[in-house]
């Protein structure tokens, strides 16, 4: 059918290396998500604080993160801030870029989730003598995270897919970077990237499955 001979062995022989790459990809994605959620909570707090400077900062972050390409954000973390004499390694730039992006999108999701929580709850918490920060942390935050569980798991998938952009700043230990390097060695572009695609697909399915299991355990009432 094709004049091209597929050599799947070439790719399958490199599977261990690619799985190592996949592990790095997962680590970056998880780390960027944990940091992203923390920063998003911070940004949400800033927006609620009523302080003009803080909420302006949060809005700027969120709008830049949501309205420019993720690739641009990673470039900015790697090449852009180098003008200020800040040099980040590829993995650090990638992590900063994805975390910045995650935090922006998640903060916007949190804002939507907050709308679903009645104002009266804050007032009730405050009249029980809680400080504003306590009321946010103990009453609002848990509900907010619960409502935005699905968007968070979607963002996790995005984070995994975004790690492939690290190659543009010289990252070569994640799944895409490893595949690219192997491609330079063997020229089996199609086979190698098809295998990488399968690995990515499996990772994403595992995340979706895990999220569903977690949701079933966390949210049974």
């Amino acid at each position: 059918m094709f004049s091209y001979t597929f050599q799947w062995n070439q790719a399958l022989n490199r599977l261990p290396q690619m799985l190592d790459g996949a592990w790095v990809t997962m680590q970056i994605a998880v780390l960027s998500m944990v940091l992203g959620v923390l920063f998003a909570i911070m940004l949400t707090g800033f927006r609620l604080s009523g302080n003009k400077i803080l909420s302006g900062f949060a809005t700027t972050w969120i709008e830049v993160a949501r309205n420019t390409p993720a690739l641009f954000q990673i470039y900015m973390a790697h090449f852009g801030v180098a003008s200020f004499g800040l040099y980040f390694s590829p993995i650090a730039s990638l992590l900063i870029g994805i975390t910045f992006n995650n935090a922006g999108y998640l903060a916007e999701n949190f804002r939507g989730a907050l709308k679903a929580i009645p104002d009266t709850q804050t007032r009730a918490a405050r009249s029980l003598g809680m400080t504003p920060i306590k009321a946010f942390g103990y009453v609002i935050l848990p509900q907010m995270l619960r409502i935005s569980f699905l968007p968070i798991s979607n963002q996790m998938v995005w984070a995994v897919l975004m790690t492939s952009l690290g190659v543009t700043v010289g990252m070569n230990t994640d799944l895409y970077g490893v595949t690219q390097d192997l491609n330079a060695l063997t020229f089996r572009t199609f086979e190698l990237f098809a295998l990488a695609a399968v690995i990515f697909y499996v990772i994403v399915k595992l995340i979706n499955f895990g999220a569903r299991l977690l949701a079933a355990r966390l949210f049974r009432y």
Binding site: F2, S3, Y4, F6, E63, V64, R66, N67, T68, P69, A70, L71, F72, Y75, M76, F79, G80, V81, A82, S83, F84, V157, L161, M162, T163, S164, L165, V167, Y176, T189, F190, F193, A194, A196, A197, F200, Y201, V204, K205
Partner: protein, 217 residues
């Protein structure tokens, strides 16, 4: 930072990159939306069981990094099939299916938001399936789907930054080329980023406004 050695021809070079970005986005969103509506209606119509192959096919585009999709399709067409296809065509093709995959979900959500009773009423009045779709479902579903669709189109514009991998010099790639030559990364990146921001921000705001306005009634 602002005493740049950028010349007018460099600005023209960036503008060309921006034009490619816009062109790729418009082509992909246009055909992707048509395909996406087709897939979405089909999946809704035949039910989850018969729609499963389509669901699986579209799910692939949402579960694999766009970068890999582009490399893979490019390699398949170029190395395996030995076809001479321009990177631009590959980029548009892949992004079209990428758009269609997300659009199908949006369309399905829109159709499901139309109450069954409304549709039964339409059919009871003697409307055909097509008339029901055209005059009842389409206007109501559009209200639900349009804000998400706007978000999707902007997402495609931002993701089109990745088509550099199939040798298409879009905006971010042209910025990158200029950075290599002029060694002014911050200034050039801000120009590139600003371009995306200026297009994306007002349209995103419009989407948010429509969502708020249409969700109240």
């Amino acid at each position: 930072m602002f005493d740049t050695s950028m010349t007018l021809s460099d600005v023209w070079f960036l503008a060309q990159g921006a034009w490619i970005t816009i062109l790729v986005t418009i082509i992909s969103v246009f055909f992707g939306t048509i395909l996406g509506i087709g897939f979405g209606v089909f999946r809704y119509q035949v039910g989850p069981w018969w729609g499963a192959p389509v669901t699986f096919f579209l799910d692939i585009f949402r579960s694999i990094p766009l970068l890999i999709q582009l490399v893979l399709v490019n390699a398949f067409l170029g190395i395996v099939l030995r076809l001479q296809i321009s990177g631009f065509a590959v980029a548009c093709g892949v992004l079209t299916f990428y758009t269609a995959a997300y659009c199908a979900e949006i369309v399905r959500g829109g159709i499901e938001a139309v109450p069954q009773t409304t549709r039964r009423a339409a059919r009871s009045l003697g409307m055909t399936w097509f008339q029901d779709m055209r005059y009842i479902v389409a206007p109501l579903a559009t209200r639900v789907a349009l804000p998400s669709w706007i978000g999707l189109s902007l997402g495609v514009m931002k993701d089109s930054a990745l088509v550099y991998v199939v040798q298409v010099t879009e905006l971010l790639k042209s910025t990158q080329i200029l950075i290599t030559r002029l060694q002014e990364p911050l200034f050039l990146l801000i120009i590139g980023g600003l371009f995306y921001f200026i297009i994306s921000f007002p349209i995103a705001r419009l989407g948010g406004y429509l969502e708020k306005r249409w969700s109240n009634d």
